[in-house]
């Protein structure tokens, strides 16, 4: 009881930062997922190659080192980012790379006949995509997007390494102050992350249900 009163205010301050980094990072990752996923399906080979290079680079190096680069190394090249900007950018770039693969494969799994029917009806390329292809690809994207969101949430704990006061950061500093409450502290931390993850999953599942309405017999 006493432990809770001592630990919670700090952790909740961290929670705000964690949620902020999570939501902004997820938005950036989603935007990049679509942008890069579509570029990977471009007619132009150079565009496809560049997009693939981005994906390989950000998947092939660790998030922590990307964050170090964005926050500690970039200033030497004249780019100064706030810790929040660096954290959001790092998470967005990293999970955007994974997400673009989700977008690409979902779009490619829409049957060719759907594109062809859309062309035969003379729908413009934009309408073809927006009203025919995307609504069929979107339900396929949701489950893997849900997984990536949880991964991204867990990834947010790394921003504590670039001075951002997220939950993990707060926990580490509370640990030095209240060494005797280490067990309740880390238990609380676990529960808080788990609650955010559960809420995220619930939202994604709801989107999935909505995307499926009326589709199957």
């Amino acid at each position: 009881m006493e432990a809770g009163i001592l630990l919670l205010p700090g952790l909740l301050r961290g929670l705000r930062v964690t949620l902020e980094v999570f939501v902004l990072g997820a938005m950036l990752a989603l935007g990049l997922s679509f942008a890069v996923g579509l570029l990977r399906l471009s007619r132009f080979p150079i565009v496809r190659t560049l997009a693939a290079a981005y994906v390989e680079f950000f998947r092939g190096t660790s998030l922590l080192i990307q964050l170090f680069w964005l926050y500690y190394a970039l200033p030497f090249f004249g780019v100064e980012l706030s810790a929040l900007a660096a954290g959001v950018l790092g998470l967005g770039l990293n999970y955007g790379a994974y997400g673009s693969e989700v977008v690409r494969s979902a779009i490619r799994s829409v049957p060719k006949g759907q594109w062809e029917a859309a062309i035969a009806l003379n729908l413009s390329p934009l309408v073809r995509f927006r009203r025919v292809i995307l609504p069929q690809a979107w339900p396929l994207m949701l489950p893997p997007f849900g997984n990536l969101l949880i991964e991204l949430l867990k990834g947010t704990s790394l921003v504590s390494m670039i001075t951002l006061g997220d939950m993990t950061f707060q926990a580490m500093s509370l640990r030095t102050t209240y060494a005797r409450y280490e067990v309740p502290l880390f238990l609380l931390l676990l529960v808080l992350y788990f609650l955010i993850a559960t809420a995220t999953s619930a939202i994604v599942r709801r989107l999935e249900r909505r995307a499926r309405v009326g589709r199957s017999a």
Partner: protein, 286 residues
Amino acid sequence: MAGAPAIVDANRALQDRARAREDAAVRRPIVRFRGVKKAFGAMTVLEGIDLDLYPGEKVVVIGPSGSGKTTLARMLMTLETPSGGEIEVDGEPLFTMVRRGRRVPADERHLARVRGKIGMVFQHFNLFPHMTVLRNVTEALIHVRRIPPEEARRRTMAMLERVGMAEHADKYPAQLSGGQKQRVAIARALVMEPKVMLFDEPTSALDPELVGEVLAVIKEIAAKGDMAMLLITHEMQFAREIADRIVFIDGGKIVEQGPPEEVLLRPKSERLKAFLARFRNGMGLR
């Protein structure tokens, strides 16, 4: 009083000229294939197709599997690009256009304009599974023709009535039989009022007992209207009933063409004779 005959003459002259213009328009092909070739990689599928399709004309294309019938239709629908030759629609090249006095490959705008004159019905229907029957049909009216939703809905319901699908307007494609799906697909193409309709084996993916309802709809459409039709089918009896002209393709070329009775009952080439022999049993052809 004395002026009256002169006026009558002048009127007649005007009428004659109008009729002459109409005849010329009727005589000008709506679609011309001129030396059209298509190769996929090293494999040549079509080698020099010359084929004219006139307004209102119903042309049935027959030929063995792999002879390039589908490819022919797909090129006209701009789903494939010819490797050589030209396709003209309504007197205008489909795959090239003039820009600054030079003939250049067609851009999306040119394709969209010419493509608007053509509709296609696919072997596997290709309905949009996430849209109701109604939305499948209104979609292009609203987003291509820019017709207000209420009017689009009215035209759609009239068209669904015509193919006998009006009472299924709020269902999704997954809730329909194959024959019903194909009738919706026909309505979807027809509601755009194309000048040419392409049918690529519209009944060959259907259970035998569902073929009749789709053929009946196509026959009804063919009987009315000045829309030209290019129909690929293996239903020889149906071909005979519906076609103004039958075209037999084999080995990437048009081997024989003519009125149905000629082509089906008095084939000249050995290849057509051999092809038809396979249908003779039970097809009602003597």
